[in-house]
Symmetry: C2
Subunit: 685 residues, 2 copies
């Protein structure tokens, strides 16, 4: 404890007090040159003067003195340091510089550092409480880490009131060295931790996070509340995909990819943590409700329907048991209403019968305190029925003081109680989401035979010419190399070539200007569609070349592209924008207004699996159009999925590829495939 103190209220005092009070069993060495003893412990003038090398150094000296202390720790062989002191990256340019220097020093000693600028850390099983919070975390199974120290203190107070216990409690501070991924990695095998909850404002290393979180989330649930969601991305982008992507969609795709559950509020974060630590996840979506009142039963049913879970249909045998054991006025169908005057016996019968029903995956037990209600006895009965049961049981014992004792009984039996039905249903929905994630096998990514060398060649040639944007012909070559069907196209450098090309591919055709400087061809009148004969072709040729010269007098005009005119079809936009944190983010949407006005798009991180490619399409609100709604022709969805997979492979193979738009990707009638009609590819600057 470097910077230990005994002056009341000082951070150095509070931390030392917390370490001593929490019952830490190891040796504690306060370091402070102006004391000989602090709180009855021998105090040392410096780290080098310590009688042995500590496992952990906690540093709380002024920012300007931190580096010297870290160096001393390094010399002494200390491998782990928690720097509570503030005055680093968070406090302007000087602090920024100071932190960079500190990082270099710590690295040079192979030292791992928590913070700086943090509240410290606690571990309730060691036990060790090296925080300067005035309240200690209670023991429990939730590991919590937070990028905001202030939120830590707020959560400690709140969790005490709400009887939530922690295995670890970690304030990440500036994440100079140790970050969320390190913590996840460490918590994966911590036997005291059943669920990992985090408040994050950003992620330090996207690639590493994806890898570690994917692994960890398979052994225990990871729930993250990510703040700063609405901040606009700073990067300027030119593609459609890039404009729509934004860091928010990248985070959503990343969390989904690695099975991280996202909480929308801090309260939801802990409501989920409470569910996960105490109950098994539901194996299915069929929920039974047992209640002693109609109103809350209706509220629960509404919430279930909204959440995508379903009210279980009870088997005839269950209904029979209920009919025999409950009064005539009771409802023996789901929600099971045991009536307002129900004592614990009726609850026991109902809960037992319903849990025995093979068509039930989870149970909500609702109780409102009425005249004959015995909340505590009922809680005991429910706890007994739920013991050892593999189905999820959540309680909604409503009211205040009159259900407190019941709530305690339920808590001790591992049944979380919610004050209103909606909270319980929301928790159930997310637990189901997690169990669905777990039930998916890890998915191999399909690998197509492609001509990677050809694509590489095109990129290199573009680079050699000092460009980073491909023209359409080049983009097509790349797509073709990756097996993406492209519309038949020829580059014609003069009118004769143009006429010959059209004749060879057969009318009708489309012509488009071909120039490395003209990327948005339609905007300058550089495209003419529906050309049916040579006369029209000649005038179209003149029109697009004239327009190009008029609007871009200095452009290199390579000629025109002649392209086969495609049959009517659905149009998709399929694109990729490379997120700075998480890499290639694929986007798909129905072309035109669906993407641009309705923003009906879906995102996944590449590489995607077959399931994900299908999911991307099915997630679209306009998906039904592809399926042939409203008398439209059903599109070749399978072919569209293959295109997504091939693009996924392309953008994964070339990290150099910054943005890609296939717009439109024509999806023909079912069985007839797809054709990329236009494409843009931009390499990194």
């Amino acid at each position: 404890m470097v910077g230990a103190s005994e002056k009341p209220g000082k951070v150095g005092t509070v931390v030392l007090e917390n370490i001593v009070r929490c019952g830490y069993a190891g040796k504690v060495f306060p370091v402070n040159p102006s004391h000989e003893k602090i709180m009855g412990l021998a105090c040392y003038p410096s780290v080098s003067a310590l009688p042995q090398t500590p496992d952990l150094a906690v540093i709380i000296v002024p920012a300007s003195a931190v580096q010297a202390v870290v160096e001393e720790c390094g010399e002494r062989g200390v491998k782990a340091v928690a720097i509570i002191s503030a005055g680093f990256k968070e406090s302007g340019r000087e602090g920024y510089r100071r932190e960079a220097e500190l990082k270099r020093v710590a690295r040079s000693y192979g030292m791992r550092v928590l913070g700086p600028n943090c509240l410290g850390l606690a571990d309730t099983s060691t036990p060790l409480n090296a925080t300067f919070a005035t309240r200690a975390p209670q023991p429990g199974k939730v590991a919590f880490m937070s990028q905001s120290g202030a939120l830590c203190t707020a959560v400690l107070g709140w969790s005490e009131e709400n009887h939530l216990g922690f295995s670890r409690f970690i304030s990440l501070g500036n994440k100079m060295d140790l970050d969320e991924s390190d913590m996840l990695e460490d918590l994966e095998n911590d036997g005291n931790t059943a669920v990992i909850a985090a408040y994050l404002e950003g992620i330090s290393d996207g690639g590493r996070f994806l890898e570690i979180a994917s692994r960890v989330s398979r052994s225990k649930p990871v729930v993250i509340f990510k703040a700063g969601v609405t901040q606009a991305g700073a990067k300027a982008v030119s593609s459609h995909t890039g404009t729509l992507a934004g860091s928010e969609n990248a985070y959503a795709a990343a969390f989904r990819r690695c099975g991280v559950l996202r909480a929308g509020t801090v309260e939801e974060l802990f409501a989920l943590a409470r569910g996960f630590t105490s109950q098994p996840c539901p194996r299915g979506a069929r929920v039974a409700v047992v209640t002693n009142a109609g109103g809350p039963g209706i509220i629960a049913s509404d919430a279930l329907e909204r959440s995508g879970l379903s009210l279980a249909g009870l088997e005839e045998e269950t209904a029979r048991r209920l009919r025999e054991g409950l009064p005539e006025a009771a409802s023996v169908y789901n929600p099971v209403d045991v009536l307002g005057d129900a004592g614990e016996d009726r609850y026991r019968l109902a809960v037992e019968s319903v849990l025995a029903d093979p068509g039930v995956d989870a149970l909500l037990v609702i109780l409102t305190p009425q005249a004959m209600t015995r909340p505590a006895e009922t809680a005991e009965a429910v706890a007994r029925c739920a013991r050892g049961c593999e189905k999820t049981v959540l309680a909604v014992f409503m009211g205040g003081e009159e259900v407190q004792e019941a709530e305690r009984i339920l808590r001790e039996a591992g049944i979380p109680n919610y004050r209103f039905p909606e909270g319980a249903v929301e928790t159930l929905r997310r637990m189901r989401e997690y169990s669905e994630y777990l039930s998916r096998r890890s998915e191999a990514v399909v690998h197509f035979e492609v001509d990677r060398g050809k694509a590489m060649e095109v990129f290199e040639s573009v680079r050699r010419q000092g460009r980073n944007e491909l023209i359409e012909v080049e983009a097509r070559e790349v797509l073709a190399a990756y097996g993406l069907p492209v519309a038949r196209t020829a580059l014609a450098t003069n009118l004769e070539e143009c006429i010959r090309a059209a004749r060879e591919m057969g009318y009708p055709v489309v012509v488009k200007i071909a120039s490395p400087q003209i990327l948005h061809k339609t905007d300058v009148g550089g495209v003419v569609v529906g050309i049916n004969n040579t006369d029209d072709l000649v005038s179209a040729y003149e029109r697009v070349t004239n327009n190009a010269r008029k609007f871009f007098p200095r452009a290199d005009i390579w000629g025109v592209l002649v392209q086969e005119m495609l049959p009517p079809s659905h149009e998709l936009i399929l694109g990729m924008s490379r997120d700075a944190q998480f890499g290639p983010l694929l986007m798909v949407g129905l072309g035109g207004i669906y993407v641009e006005v309705l923003k009906d798009v879906s995102f996944r991180l590449a590489p995607v699996s077959e399931r994900e490619a299908g999911e991307m399409l099915r997630e679209l609100k306009s998906y039904w159009l592809l399926r042939g709604a409203r008398g439209e022709v059903a599109a070749d969805i399978e072919a569209a999925e293959e295109c997504i997979l091939r693009v996924s492979q392309l953008v994964t193979d070339f990290e150099d590829l910054a943005e890609l738009d296939i717009n439109p990707l024509r999806v023909l009638e079912n069985g007839k495939g797809c054709l990329a009609a236009d494409a843009r590819i931009v390499l990194k600057e």
Copy 2:
């Protein structure tokens, strides 16, 4: 108190105890033939034996005995009765019959009845607690009524813990006589009630509710949690509008119409009630945040952006005051960060400065308990600054026990505290919604000169023919009578008439089969569009008549409709479906897939104001298409609005009109108006 008892645990005992204990100042007469005294009060054998006529009779006798008691009350001249007893409509056929009979008897005496099957009622200012709840409502400014008695008891317990007080607490029970509208009417002028909160499963009389709630919500906020939202409507409907409408949309439109705020959960109901009872509503959307920690500041900013409120831009003068008074590291821009070591002085300075800023409408004060934080003193400072201020001030003092004292101080100063920023922001958003509602003047409905008599004639002729569905020609006549522009159309009963009609209106034309039995013409090949000459017309005529005979061999074929072919345009669907509760529900959406696949529609109750007609269109996600997004032609939105208003007038004038669909309503280029291309009108059976 008919059915008073002294046997512990009996409902008759609990109610009497509650009346006596609550300090009711009037006389209490227990009625029970088998006692002479109960709880020290003289007990009477019957209502007729009472020494004077009571103001209120509370009845808790078995269901079968209730009617006799009510009759006795009627004879005695009792005008108000609360029937707690169950065993009526809620309990099957016999109970249903019993309630109908009881209703007749009560009516015959001009008596008003609460219940039956309820928890009773309480009024904390009289005071009177005539409920059988074991907990009494604490005094406060929220009037609460509930259709679920069990929810009442749950709310009582919960509200005690959450320090929420009530002016009235009313269990509505079966609403045999007194319902939500009666209560609203009564609470309108109750000086002790600042906000009315309700849990409802249904509304007894939609028209009356609309009238009363509209009036009451102008003098105090009405917040309703309506359960049973996902129940499918039972009525079979045939129109597009009817299919999409459903009772859920009708409720939403009704609540919006009368300024009722809808709560999504019980917790939200009371979070809103808490905001309304203690703080003025914000006059604008600009919110300032003062915080001692970055993380919660970010959470608040995210929530504000999502909610449609905005972070206020502070004036230079405010920033100057903050810069002068706060440490250098503090942020003087919104969110104002007074830093982790802020005491009450910094909060005072920040809160004062920000509240004085004319660009600020509301303030969130966030506090997390850190080392130097003084929650109670800070609460006092905030309370002092907020006193008499016309801006909305909400607190987010986070944590548990360490902020309890502060929370009490804030509560007493009328500043509600939320444990996390999201709750405060959501409350603020809804308070703003209410203040916007209040700021709108009451809107006159435009009245167009129309030929009502002509429409009436058509309806009568249809009725005379024993039909209730109009054929297209008839529907057009009705629309035309109401000034709705209809595409030029002629009914041709043979091929010659058909050819003449086409020649007169000029090619291209459309032909459609005309038969009272064939309403979905496209489905049976009864429509041909884009007919350019007589040859095509002849074959089209044959095709549609043959198809009609093939699919509807017994249909009356009146001939074909010849219609001018309209220029390319946007297509709206404009319809009405008559809700059983709330009357004519208008719907508008963009035609085709926007309505049917994307369900992009908006609803309002007719009659609508000009503002509402505009709002209906602007609410559509596809609205931007009408505005001319993606290079499409801008539509004549003003003309479309006028169509909505004219349809609104039509469906308001004729209560007999059950369903109406104009599909499509062609909206031409800006300045060129609209044309109804096809219409269906169905009268009530």
